[in-house]
Protein backbone atom coordinates (compact mmCIF):
# COMPACT_ATOMS: atom_id res chain seq x y z
CA UNK A 1 0.00 0.00 0.00
CA UNK A 2 1.37 3.40 -0.93
CA UNK A 3 2.12 6.05 1.64
CA UNK A 4 -0.81 8.34 0.67
CA UNK A 5 -3.17 5.35 0.84
CA UNK A 6 -1.87 4.48 4.28
CA UNK A 7 -2.37 8.04 5.51
CA UNK A 8 -5.90 8.20 4.12
CA UNK A 9 -6.77 4.87 5.71
CA UNK A 10 -5.41 6.04 9.05
CA UNK A 11 -7.36 9.30 8.87
CA UNK A 12 -10.57 7.49 7.96
CA UNK A 13 -10.14 5.07 10.82
CA UNK A 14 -9.43 7.93 13.22
CA UNK A 15 -12.48 9.83 12.00
CA UNK A 16 -14.63 6.73 12.49
CA UNK A 17 -13.47 6.38 16.08
CA UNK A 18 -14.14 10.06 16.79
CA UNK A 19 -17.58 9.81 15.16
CA UNK A 20 -18.38 6.78 17.29
CA UNK A 21 -17.37 8.57 20.45
CA UNK A 22 -19.45 11.63 19.52
CA UNK A 23 -22.43 9.40 18.75
CA UNK A 24 -22.18 7.70 22.15
CA UNK A 25 -21.96 11.02 23.97
CA UNK A 26 -24.86 12.58 22.08
CA UNK A 27 -27.10 9.50 21.89
CA UNK A 28 -26.69 8.10 25.36
CA UNK A 29 -25.37 10.80 27.64
CA UNK A 30 -27.27 13.51 25.83
CA UNK A 31 -30.56 11.65 26.08
CA UNK A 32 -30.61 11.51 29.88
CA UNK A 33 -34.10 11.63 31.29
CA UNK A 34 -35.31 15.05 32.40
CA UNK A 35 -36.14 15.66 36.05
CA UNK A 36 -39.46 17.41 36.56
CA UNK A 37 -38.94 19.86 39.39
CA UNK A 38 -41.93 20.42 41.65
CA UNK A 39 -39.94 22.13 44.40
CA UNK A 40 -40.61 25.72 43.26
CA UNK A 41 -44.33 24.96 43.15
CA UNK A 42 -44.56 23.96 46.82
CA UNK A 43 -46.57 26.23 49.07
CA UNK A 44 -48.00 25.94 52.55
CA UNK A 45 -45.94 22.83 53.23
CA UNK A 46 -47.52 20.91 50.35
CA UNK A 47 -46.86 20.21 46.71
CA UNK A 48 -49.06 18.69 44.03
CA UNK A 49 -47.57 15.99 41.80
CA UNK A 50 -49.39 14.53 38.81
CA UNK A 51 -48.47 11.29 37.05
CA UNK A 52 -50.04 9.31 34.26
CA UNK A 53 -49.91 5.61 33.40
CA UNK A 54 -50.12 5.08 29.66
CA UNK A 55 -50.53 1.63 28.07
CA UNK A 56 -47.92 2.49 25.45
CA UNK A 57 -45.18 5.00 25.04
CA UNK A 58 -45.54 6.61 21.62
CA UNK A 59 -43.89 9.97 22.06
CA UNK A 60 -40.23 9.14 21.75
CA UNK A 61 -38.12 6.85 19.58
CA UNK A 62 -37.57 4.72 22.68
CA UNK A 63 -39.44 1.40 23.10
CA UNK A 64 -43.23 1.58 23.14
CA UNK A 65 -43.63 -0.13 26.49
CA UNK A 66 -46.21 0.69 29.11
CA UNK A 67 -44.98 3.78 30.87
CA UNK A 68 -45.46 6.42 33.51
CA UNK A 69 -45.42 10.09 32.52
CA UNK A 70 -44.87 13.10 34.78
CA UNK A 71 -46.76 16.34 34.28
CA UNK A 72 -44.72 19.51 34.15
CA UNK A 73 -46.21 21.78 36.84
CA UNK A 74 -45.63 24.96 34.83
CA UNK A 75 -46.73 23.99 31.34
CA UNK A 76 -48.93 21.00 32.28
CA UNK A 77 -47.26 19.13 29.44
CA UNK A 78 -46.63 15.43 29.92
CA UNK A 79 -42.97 14.55 30.11
CA UNK A 80 -41.78 11.03 29.36
CA UNK A 81 -39.74 10.52 32.50
CA UNK A 82 -40.05 8.98 35.94
CA UNK A 83 -37.75 11.40 37.70
CA UNK A 84 -39.25 14.20 39.72
CA UNK A 85 -38.06 16.47 42.49
CA UNK A 86 -39.99 17.55 45.58
CA UNK A 87 -38.95 19.45 48.72
CA UNK A 88 -38.12 17.73 52.01
CA UNK A 89 -40.55 17.58 54.94
CA UNK A 90 -43.47 18.35 52.67
CA UNK A 91 -46.87 16.83 52.06
CA UNK A 92 -47.00 15.44 48.54
CA UNK A 93 -50.52 15.46 47.14
CA UNK A 94 -50.26 12.86 44.43
CA UNK A 95 -52.68 12.46 41.55
CA UNK A 96 -52.26 9.48 39.24
CA UNK A 97 -54.29 9.16 36.07
CA UNK A 98 -54.60 5.48 35.21
CA UNK A 99 -55.19 4.87 31.51
CA UNK A 100 -53.96 1.27 31.44
CA UNK A 101 -56.02 -1.88 31.87
CA UNK A 102 -55.84 -4.18 34.84
CA UNK A 103 -53.17 -6.77 35.58
CA UNK A 104 -53.11 -8.79 38.81
CA UNK A 105 -50.37 -8.29 41.32
CA UNK A 106 -47.89 -11.09 41.77
CA UNK A 107 -48.15 -10.58 45.53
CA UNK A 108 -51.62 -9.44 46.42
CA UNK A 109 -50.26 -8.04 49.69
CA UNK A 110 -49.59 -4.85 47.75
CA UNK A 111 -53.33 -4.44 47.22
CA UNK A 112 -53.31 -2.79 50.64
CA UNK A 113 -52.72 0.94 50.65
CA UNK A 114 -49.86 1.76 53.02
CA UNK A 115 -47.88 4.83 53.91
CA UNK A 116 -50.36 7.41 52.66
CA UNK A 117 -52.15 9.88 54.89
CA UNK A 118 -54.86 7.79 56.55
CA UNK A 119 -53.64 4.76 54.62
CA UNK A 120 -56.31 5.59 52.06
CA UNK A 121 -56.77 6.76 48.47
CA UNK A 122 -59.71 8.28 46.64
CA UNK A 123 -60.64 7.05 43.17
CA UNK A 124 -62.84 8.73 40.59
CA UNK A 125 -63.54 6.99 37.29
CA UNK A 126 -63.85 8.93 34.04
CA UNK A 127 -65.23 8.08 30.61
CA UNK A 128 -63.54 11.11 29.11
CA UNK A 129 -61.56 13.94 30.58
CA UNK A 130 -64.70 15.82 31.57
CA UNK A 131 -67.12 12.95 32.01
CA UNK A 132 -66.94 11.31 35.47
CA UNK A 133 -68.46 7.91 36.01
CA UNK A 134 -70.01 7.18 39.41
CA UNK A 135 -69.07 8.76 42.70
CA UNK A 136 -65.63 9.29 44.13
CA UNK A 137 -64.78 6.29 46.31
CA UNK A 138 -62.38 5.93 49.21
CA UNK A 139 -60.29 2.77 49.44
CA UNK A 140 -57.91 1.30 51.98
CA UNK A 141 -57.47 -1.81 49.83
CA UNK A 142 -57.98 -2.43 46.13
CA UNK A 143 -57.98 -6.20 45.65
CA UNK A 144 -56.22 -6.81 42.36
CA UNK A 145 -57.10 -10.51 42.31
CA UNK A 146 -60.78 -10.32 43.12
CA UNK A 147 -61.91 -7.65 40.72
CA UNK A 148 -59.00 -7.08 38.37
CA UNK A 149 -59.23 -3.43 39.21
CA UNK A 150 -55.56 -2.54 39.59
CA UNK A 151 -53.38 -1.49 36.68
CA UNK A 152 -50.07 -0.73 38.35
CA UNK A 153 -48.69 0.34 41.68
CA UNK A 154 -46.81 3.37 42.89
CA UNK A 155 -44.46 2.28 45.66
CA UNK A 156 -41.57 3.95 47.47
CA UNK A 157 -40.32 1.00 49.53
CA UNK A 158 -37.86 2.93 51.67
CA UNK A 159 -40.67 5.25 52.81
CA UNK A 160 -43.10 2.33 53.24
CA UNK A 161 -45.43 3.87 50.67
CA UNK A 162 -47.30 1.17 48.72
CA UNK A 163 -50.24 2.25 46.59
CA UNK A 164 -52.14 0.13 44.05
CA UNK A 165 -53.45 2.34 41.27
CA UNK A 166 -56.95 1.60 40.04
CA UNK A 167 -57.50 0.72 36.40
CA UNK A 168 -60.31 2.29 34.32
CA UNK A 169 -63.74 0.70 34.28
CA UNK A 170 -63.21 -2.45 32.21
CA UNK A 171 -66.12 -1.97 29.83
CA UNK A 172 -65.09 1.59 29.05
CA UNK A 173 -61.46 0.61 28.67
CA UNK A 174 -62.37 -2.17 26.24
CA UNK A 175 -64.40 0.18 24.10
CA UNK A 176 -61.91 3.00 23.75
CA UNK A 177 -58.60 2.36 25.37
CA UNK A 178 -55.88 4.94 25.02
CA UNK A 179 -53.60 4.02 22.13
CA UNK A 180 -51.43 7.10 21.89
CA UNK A 181 -49.37 8.53 24.68
CA UNK A 182 -49.65 10.78 26.50
CA UNK A 183 -53.29 9.88 27.01
CA UNK A 184 -55.82 12.65 27.27
CA UNK A 185 -59.43 11.90 26.60
CA UNK A 186 -59.72 8.13 27.03
CA UNK A 187 -61.39 6.27 29.89
CA UNK A 188 -59.25 6.51 32.98
CA UNK A 189 -59.20 6.49 36.72
CA UNK A 190 -58.06 9.42 38.82
CA UNK A 191 -56.50 8.30 42.05
CA UNK A 192 -55.46 10.75 44.75
CA UNK A 193 -53.49 10.29 47.93
CA UNK A 194 -50.95 12.12 50.04
CA UNK A 195 -47.75 11.23 51.81
CA UNK A 196 -44.94 13.14 53.49
CA UNK A 197 -41.41 13.43 52.24
CA UNK A 198 -38.63 12.81 54.77
CA UNK A 199 -36.99 15.59 56.74
CA UNK A 200 -33.68 15.04 55.01
CA UNK A 201 -32.87 15.22 51.35
CA UNK A 202 -32.00 12.18 49.29
CA UNK A 203 -32.99 10.01 46.37
CA UNK A 204 -35.85 7.59 46.86
CA UNK A 205 -36.53 5.00 44.20
CA UNK A 206 -40.09 4.17 43.32
CA UNK A 207 -41.44 1.33 41.27
CA UNK A 208 -44.43 -0.66 40.08
CA UNK A 209 -44.96 -4.10 41.62
CA UNK A 210 -47.27 -5.40 38.88
CA UNK A 211 -45.38 -7.71 36.48
CA UNK A 212 -46.38 -5.51 33.56
CA UNK A 213 -43.42 -6.13 31.27
CA UNK A 214 -45.55 -7.93 28.73
CA UNK A 215 -43.51 -10.26 26.52
CA UNK A 216 -40.58 -10.43 28.92
CA UNK A 217 -39.40 -13.24 31.13
CA UNK A 218 -41.32 -13.15 34.40
CA UNK A 219 -43.16 -10.06 33.19
CA UNK A 220 -40.45 -8.16 34.99
CA UNK A 221 -38.26 -7.26 32.03
CA UNK A 222 -38.40 -4.23 29.73
CA UNK A 223 -40.34 -1.42 31.36
CA UNK A 224 -39.97 -2.97 34.80
CA UNK A 225 -36.20 -2.77 34.55
CA UNK A 226 -35.86 0.58 32.84
CA UNK A 227 -35.86 3.98 34.47
CA UNK A 228 -38.28 6.19 32.60
CA UNK A 229 -40.99 3.55 32.31
CA UNK A 230 -42.31 1.75 35.39
CA UNK A 231 -39.70 2.85 37.89
CA UNK A 232 -37.93 6.02 38.78
CA UNK A 233 -36.50 8.28 41.41
CA UNK A 234 -38.07 10.85 43.67
CA UNK A 235 -35.42 13.42 44.45
CA UNK A 236 -36.05 15.08 47.80
CA UNK A 237 -34.25 18.41 47.94
CA UNK A 238 -33.35 20.64 50.86
Amino acid sequence: MSLPARIVTLLVAFAAVVAGAVFIVVHYLGSALPVVNYTPEASGGAVNVVLQEAPVNSVTPRPDWVSYFVQDPKTHAWVHTTLFQVPENTRVNMTILGYDGCTPLRNNYFSKIQGTVGNRVTVQQFKTLSQPVGPTRVYSLIDSWANCSVAHTFAIPSLHVFVPVASPVTALFNSSACGTAPCTNSPHSMEKFSFYTPKTSGTFRWQCFIPCGGGFLDGNGGPMQTIGYMMGNMEVSG
Partner: protein, 314 residues
Protein backbone atom coordinates in the same frame (compact mmCIF):
# COMPACT_ATOMS: atom_id res chain seq x y z
CA UNK B 1 64.83 -15.27 61.33
CA UNK B 2 62.18 -16.63 63.37
CA UNK B 3 58.63 -15.85 62.40
CA UNK B 4 56.07 -15.35 65.07
CA UNK B 5 52.41 -16.20 64.28
CA UNK B 6 49.57 -14.97 66.42
CA UNK B 7 47.37 -17.78 67.62
CA UNK B 8 43.97 -17.96 65.82
CA UNK B 9 41.06 -16.52 67.77
CA UNK B 10 38.72 -19.22 69.06
CA UNK B 11 35.63 -19.61 66.85
CA UNK B 12 32.60 -17.85 68.23
CA UNK B 13 30.12 -20.38 69.51
CA UNK B 14 27.06 -20.57 67.26
CA UNK B 15 23.90 -19.77 69.25
CA UNK B 16 21.04 -22.22 69.32
CA UNK B 17 18.89 -20.60 66.65
CA UNK B 18 16.05 -23.05 67.12
CA UNK B 19 15.60 -22.15 70.74
CA UNK B 20 15.80 -18.44 69.98
CA UNK B 21 13.22 -18.66 67.16
CA UNK B 22 10.93 -20.80 69.27
CA UNK B 23 11.20 -18.41 72.21
CA UNK B 24 10.29 -15.40 70.10
CA UNK B 25 7.49 -17.32 68.41
CA UNK B 26 5.89 -18.67 71.57
CA UNK B 27 5.74 -15.23 73.19
CA UNK B 28 4.30 -13.48 70.12
CA UNK B 29 1.88 -16.31 69.30
CA UNK B 30 0.52 -16.29 72.82
CA UNK B 31 0.16 -12.51 72.74
CA UNK B 32 -1.55 -12.64 69.33
CA UNK B 33 -4.02 -15.32 70.40
CA UNK B 34 -4.85 -13.47 73.61
CA UNK B 35 -5.46 -10.30 71.58
CA UNK B 36 -7.60 -12.20 69.07
CA UNK B 37 -9.73 -13.82 71.74
CA UNK B 38 -10.21 -10.96 74.15
CA UNK B 39 -9.89 -7.86 71.98
CA UNK B 40 -10.77 -8.76 68.39
CA UNK B 41 -13.41 -11.47 68.84
CA UNK B 42 -16.14 -9.25 70.30
CA UNK B 43 -15.94 -7.10 67.16
CA UNK B 44 -15.81 -9.87 64.60
CA UNK B 45 -18.73 -10.04 62.14
CA UNK B 46 -21.58 -10.75 62.24
CA UNK B 47 -21.73 -10.07 66.00
CA UNK B 48 -23.55 -12.16 68.56
CA UNK B 49 -27.17 -11.10 68.19
CA UNK B 50 -28.43 -14.62 67.57
CA UNK B 51 -27.37 -18.20 68.13
CA UNK B 52 -26.14 -18.58 64.56
CA UNK B 53 -24.34 -15.22 64.58
CA UNK B 54 -22.66 -16.09 67.89
CA UNK B 55 -21.48 -19.41 66.49
CA UNK B 56 -20.17 -17.74 63.32
CA UNK B 57 -18.27 -15.22 65.41
CA UNK B 58 -16.85 -18.05 67.52
CA UNK B 59 -15.86 -20.00 64.39
CA UNK B 60 -14.03 -17.06 62.86
CA UNK B 61 -12.21 -16.45 66.14
CA UNK B 62 -11.11 -20.09 66.37
CA UNK B 63 -9.86 -19.99 62.77
CA UNK B 64 -7.89 -16.86 63.60
CA UNK B 65 -6.48 -18.51 66.75
CA UNK B 66 -5.22 -21.40 64.65
CA UNK B 67 -3.92 -19.27 61.80
CA UNK B 68 -2.09 -16.62 63.82
CA UNK B 69 0.69 -18.88 65.23
CA UNK B 70 1.36 -20.37 61.79
CA UNK B 71 1.49 -16.96 60.17
CA UNK B 72 3.72 -15.62 62.96
CA UNK B 73 6.10 -18.56 62.67
CA UNK B 74 6.62 -17.85 58.96
CA UNK B 75 7.14 -14.14 59.55
CA UNK B 76 9.47 -14.66 62.55
CA UNK B 77 11.59 -17.23 60.73
CA UNK B 78 11.80 -14.92 57.72
CA UNK B 79 12.81 -11.95 59.85
CA UNK B 80 15.29 -13.97 61.90
CA UNK B 81 16.95 -15.31 58.77
CA UNK B 82 17.23 -11.80 57.31
CA UNK B 83 18.91 -10.49 60.44
CA UNK B 84 21.21 -13.40 61.31
CA UNK B 85 22.02 -15.17 58.08
CA UNK B 86 22.28 -12.34 55.65
CA UNK B 87 25.36 -11.86 53.51
CA UNK B 88 28.06 -9.88 55.35
CA UNK B 89 30.94 -7.79 54.04
CA UNK B 90 33.98 -10.00 53.26
CA UNK B 91 32.17 -13.23 53.88
CA UNK B 92 32.33 -15.06 50.58
CA UNK B 93 32.02 -18.57 51.92
CA UNK B 94 29.13 -20.78 51.00
CA UNK B 95 26.65 -21.61 53.69
CA UNK B 96 26.64 -25.03 55.25
CA UNK B 97 25.30 -27.81 53.07
CA UNK B 98 21.71 -28.85 53.72
CA UNK B 99 21.04 -32.55 53.91
CA UNK B 100 17.48 -32.46 55.17
CA UNK B 101 16.15 -32.98 58.62
CA UNK B 102 13.71 -35.81 59.14
CA UNK B 103 12.50 -34.46 62.44
CA UNK B 104 11.67 -31.01 61.10
CA UNK B 105 9.99 -32.45 58.01
CA UNK B 106 7.91 -34.83 60.04
CA UNK B 107 6.98 -32.11 62.49
CA UNK B 108 5.94 -29.75 59.68
CA UNK B 109 3.86 -32.35 57.83
CA UNK B 110 2.38 -33.73 61.02
CA UNK B 111 1.63 -30.32 62.49
CA UNK B 112 -0.04 -28.88 59.42
CA UNK B 113 -2.02 -32.09 58.89
CA UNK B 114 -3.30 -31.97 62.45
CA UNK B 115 -4.28 -28.32 62.07
CA UNK B 116 -6.10 -28.88 58.77
CA UNK B 117 -7.89 -32.03 59.93
CA UNK B 118 -8.84 -30.44 63.23
CA UNK B 119 -10.31 -27.42 61.46
CA UNK B 120 -12.15 -29.74 59.07
CA UNK B 121 -13.76 -31.58 61.97
CA UNK B 122 -14.40 -28.32 63.81
CA UNK B 123 -16.01 -26.72 60.77
CA UNK B 124 -18.20 -29.73 60.08
CA UNK B 125 -19.41 -29.91 63.66
CA UNK B 126 -20.06 -26.18 63.69
CA UNK B 127 -22.24 -26.49 60.59
CA UNK B 128 -24.37 -29.11 62.31
CA UNK B 129 -24.43 -28.21 65.98
CA UNK B 130 -26.15 -24.81 65.82
CA UNK B 131 -29.06 -26.05 63.66
CA UNK B 132 -27.44 -25.53 60.30
CA UNK B 133 -25.47 -22.41 61.30
CA UNK B 134 -28.11 -20.04 59.93
CA UNK B 135 -27.71 -21.22 56.34
CA UNK B 136 -30.48 -22.36 54.02
CA UNK B 137 -30.84 -26.14 54.30
CA UNK B 138 -33.32 -26.64 51.48
CA UNK B 139 -36.85 -27.91 51.75
CA UNK B 140 -35.99 -30.85 54.01
CA UNK B 141 -33.61 -29.55 56.66
CA UNK B 142 -31.45 -32.10 58.45
CA UNK B 143 -30.24 -30.02 61.35
CA UNK B 144 -33.07 -28.49 63.35
CA UNK B 145 -33.27 -26.65 66.64
CA UNK B 146 -34.63 -28.54 69.62
CA UNK B 147 -37.96 -27.69 71.17
CA UNK B 148 -41.40 -27.33 69.71
CA UNK B 149 -42.05 -23.61 70.06
CA UNK B 150 -40.60 -22.70 66.68
CA UNK B 151 -41.81 -19.43 65.25
CA UNK B 152 -42.51 -19.93 61.55
CA UNK B 153 -41.73 -16.94 59.35
CA UNK B 154 -42.01 -17.04 55.58
CA UNK B 155 -39.66 -14.74 53.70
CA UNK B 156 -40.99 -13.81 50.25
CA UNK B 157 -38.64 -12.13 47.80
CA UNK B 158 -39.74 -10.30 44.71
CA UNK B 159 -38.19 -7.56 42.65
CA UNK B 160 -37.32 -5.57 44.82
CA UNK B 161 -38.87 -6.05 48.18
CA UNK B 162 -38.91 -8.66 50.92
CA UNK B 163 -42.18 -9.34 52.69
CA UNK B 164 -42.77 -11.66 55.66
CA UNK B 165 -45.72 -13.94 56.40
CA UNK B 166 -46.52 -15.36 59.83
CA UNK B 167 -48.58 -18.55 59.41
CA UNK B 168 -49.13 -18.87 63.17
CA UNK B 169 -50.88 -15.50 63.08
CA UNK B 170 -53.42 -16.18 60.37
CA UNK B 171 -50.91 -15.82 57.55
CA UNK B 172 -50.58 -12.08 58.06
CA UNK B 173 -47.91 -10.38 55.97
CA UNK B 174 -45.68 -7.39 56.63
CA UNK B 175 -42.77 -5.51 55.13
CA UNK B 176 -40.93 -5.36 58.48
CA UNK B 177 -39.44 -8.44 60.08
CA UNK B 178 -40.20 -8.55 63.81
CA UNK B 179 -38.98 -11.44 65.96
CA UNK B 180 -39.20 -12.35 69.66
CA UNK B 181 -36.02 -12.75 71.66
CA UNK B 182 -34.92 -16.23 72.82
CA UNK B 183 -37.42 -18.11 70.64
CA UNK B 184 -36.16 -20.34 67.80
CA UNK B 185 -37.25 -19.14 64.38
CA UNK B 186 -37.67 -21.15 61.19
CA UNK B 187 -37.34 -18.98 58.10
CA UNK B 188 -39.06 -20.41 55.02
CA UNK B 189 -37.45 -18.50 52.20
CA UNK B 190 -38.99 -18.38 48.73
CA UNK B 191 -39.37 -16.05 45.76
CA UNK B 192 -42.13 -14.94 43.44
CA UNK B 193 -39.95 -14.16 40.46
CA UNK B 194 -36.17 -14.43 40.10
CA UNK B 195 -33.54 -15.73 42.52
CA UNK B 196 -32.96 -13.52 45.52
CA UNK B 197 -31.07 -14.22 48.73
CA UNK B 198 -32.32 -13.42 52.21
CA UNK B 199 -29.43 -12.13 54.30
CA UNK B 200 -30.26 -11.01 57.83
CA UNK B 201 -26.74 -9.85 58.53
CA UNK B 202 -26.70 -9.34 62.30
CA UNK B 203 -28.68 -12.56 62.80
CA UNK B 204 -26.15 -14.57 60.83
CA UNK B 205 -28.84 -15.95 58.53
CA UNK B 206 -28.42 -16.31 54.79
CA UNK B 207 -30.60 -18.39 52.48
CA UNK B 208 -31.30 -18.25 48.75
CA UNK B 209 -34.84 -17.36 47.72
CA UNK B 210 -35.78 -19.43 44.68
CA UNK B 211 -39.18 -19.46 42.97
CA UNK B 212 -41.19 -22.58 43.79
CA UNK B 213 -38.70 -23.62 46.49
CA UNK B 214 -39.03 -23.61 50.27
CA UNK B 215 -35.54 -23.00 51.64
CA UNK B 216 -35.44 -23.37 55.43
CA UNK B 217 -32.97 -21.69 57.78
CA UNK B 218 -32.97 -21.50 61.57
CA UNK B 219 -31.75 -19.15 64.24
CA UNK B 220 -32.61 -17.99 67.74
CA UNK B 221 -32.40 -14.24 68.37
CA UNK B 222 -30.60 -13.69 71.67
CA UNK B 223 -30.44 -9.91 71.95
CA UNK B 224 -32.97 -7.11 71.59
CA UNK B 225 -32.34 -4.54 68.87
CA UNK B 226 -32.46 -3.81 65.17
CA UNK B 227 -30.93 -5.65 62.26
CA UNK B 228 -30.76 -5.21 58.51
CA UNK B 229 -31.98 -7.51 55.76
CA UNK B 230 -30.33 -7.38 52.37
CA UNK B 231 -30.64 -9.27 49.14
CA UNK B 232 -27.30 -10.92 48.41
CA UNK B 233 -28.09 -12.31 44.97
CA UNK B 234 -27.87 -10.01 41.95
CA UNK B 235 -31.54 -9.79 41.04
CA UNK B 236 -32.06 -6.86 38.70
CA UNK B 237 -31.56 -3.14 38.38
CA UNK B 238 -32.64 -2.29 41.94
CA UNK B 239 -30.84 -5.19 43.60
CA UNK B 240 -28.66 -2.75 45.50
CA UNK B 241 -31.73 -1.08 46.95
CA UNK B 242 -33.40 -4.31 48.03
CA UNK B 243 -32.95 -4.04 51.76
CA UNK B 244 -35.08 -3.31 54.75
CA UNK B 245 -34.87 -3.58 58.49
CA UNK B 246 -36.11 -5.80 61.27
CA UNK B 247 -36.06 -5.82 65.03
CA UNK B 248 -35.91 -8.28 67.89
CA UNK B 249 -38.35 -7.45 70.66
CA UNK B 250 -39.50 -9.02 73.91
CA UNK B 251 -41.92 -11.97 73.65
CA UNK B 252 -44.72 -9.85 75.06
CA UNK B 253 -44.08 -7.00 72.64
CA UNK B 254 -43.95 -9.49 69.78
CA UNK B 255 -47.32 -11.01 70.71
CA UNK B 256 -48.86 -7.55 70.94
CA UNK B 257 -47.41 -6.51 67.59
CA UNK B 258 -48.32 -9.73 65.78
CA UNK B 259 -51.89 -9.88 67.08
CA UNK B 260 -52.46 -6.20 66.36
CA UNK B 261 -51.18 -6.65 62.81
CA UNK B 262 -53.30 -9.75 62.32
CA UNK B 263 -56.41 -7.96 63.57
CA UNK B 264 -55.74 -4.93 61.39
CA UNK B 265 -55.21 -7.04 58.28
CA UNK B 266 -58.34 -9.05 59.02
CA UNK B 267 -60.34 -5.87 59.48
CA UNK B 268 -59.06 -4.28 56.28
CA UNK B 269 -59.79 -7.39 54.24
CA UNK B 270 -56.16 -7.95 53.40
CA UNK B 271 -55.99 -11.40 55.00
CA UNK B 272 -58.90 -12.56 52.84
CA UNK B 273 -57.26 -11.25 49.70
CA UNK B 274 -53.98 -13.06 50.32
CA UNK B 275 -53.56 -16.57 48.94
CA UNK B 276 -53.74 -19.42 51.48
CA UNK B 277 -50.42 -19.88 53.22
CA UNK B 278 -48.18 -22.29 51.31
CA UNK B 279 -44.50 -23.14 51.51
CA UNK B 280 -44.01 -21.83 47.97
CA UNK B 281 -46.17 -20.04 45.44
CA UNK B 282 -46.48 -20.75 41.75
CA UNK B 283 -45.54 -17.50 40.04
CA UNK B 284 -47.21 -18.68 36.88
CA UNK B 285 -50.67 -18.51 38.39
CA UNK B 286 -51.06 -14.77 38.30
CA UNK B 287 -49.28 -14.21 35.00
CA UNK B 288 -51.38 -16.99 33.47
CA UNK B 289 -54.41 -15.13 34.69
CA UNK B 290 -52.90 -12.08 33.09
CA UNK B 291 -52.62 -13.89 29.76
CA UNK B 292 -56.26 -14.84 29.97
CA UNK B 293 -57.09 -11.23 30.58
CA UNK B 294 -55.08 -10.24 27.53
CA UNK B 295 -57.00 -12.75 25.43
CA UNK B 296 -60.21 -11.27 26.72
CA UNK B 297 -58.89 -7.88 25.77
CA UNK B 298 -59.29 -6.30 29.16
CA UNK B 299 -55.71 -5.46 29.94
CA UNK B 300 -52.84 -3.87 28.18
CA UNK B 301 -50.16 -5.74 30.09
CA UNK B 302 -49.46 -9.25 31.17
CA UNK B 303 -46.31 -10.60 32.60
CA UNK B 304 -45.69 -14.28 32.13
CA UNK B 305 -43.20 -16.80 33.23
CA UNK B 306 -40.83 -18.83 31.06
CA UNK B 307 -42.90 -18.67 27.88
CA UNK B 308 -42.48 -21.72 25.61
CA UNK B 309 -40.93 -19.65 22.84
CA UNK B 310 -38.35 -18.19 25.14
CA UNK B 311 -34.95 -19.61 24.22
CA UNK B 312 -33.74 -19.54 27.81
CA UNK B 313 -35.64 -22.36 29.43
CA UNK B 314 -34.81 -23.37 33.00
Amino acid sequence: MAESQAPAAPAKAEPNHGVRIFSIWIVLALAADLLIWFVWKPHLPPGDMSSSARHQQFDIAVMALAAAPVMLFVWIYFGYALVNWRHRQGDDDDGPAIFGHTGIQAAFIGGTSVIVLALFVFGTVELIAPAGAGAGEGANPVWKPSGNNLLQVQVIGQQWQFTYRYPQFGGMETTVLVLPVNRPVAFHVTSLDVIHSFWAYQLGVKADANPMVDNVAYTTPEQLGGFTVRCSELCGIWHGAMFNSGRVVTPTAFQVWARANQAAEAKSGLLRSLPPYALAYDPTVVPQLGKVLVKLGITGAAGYYYPPQDPVQP
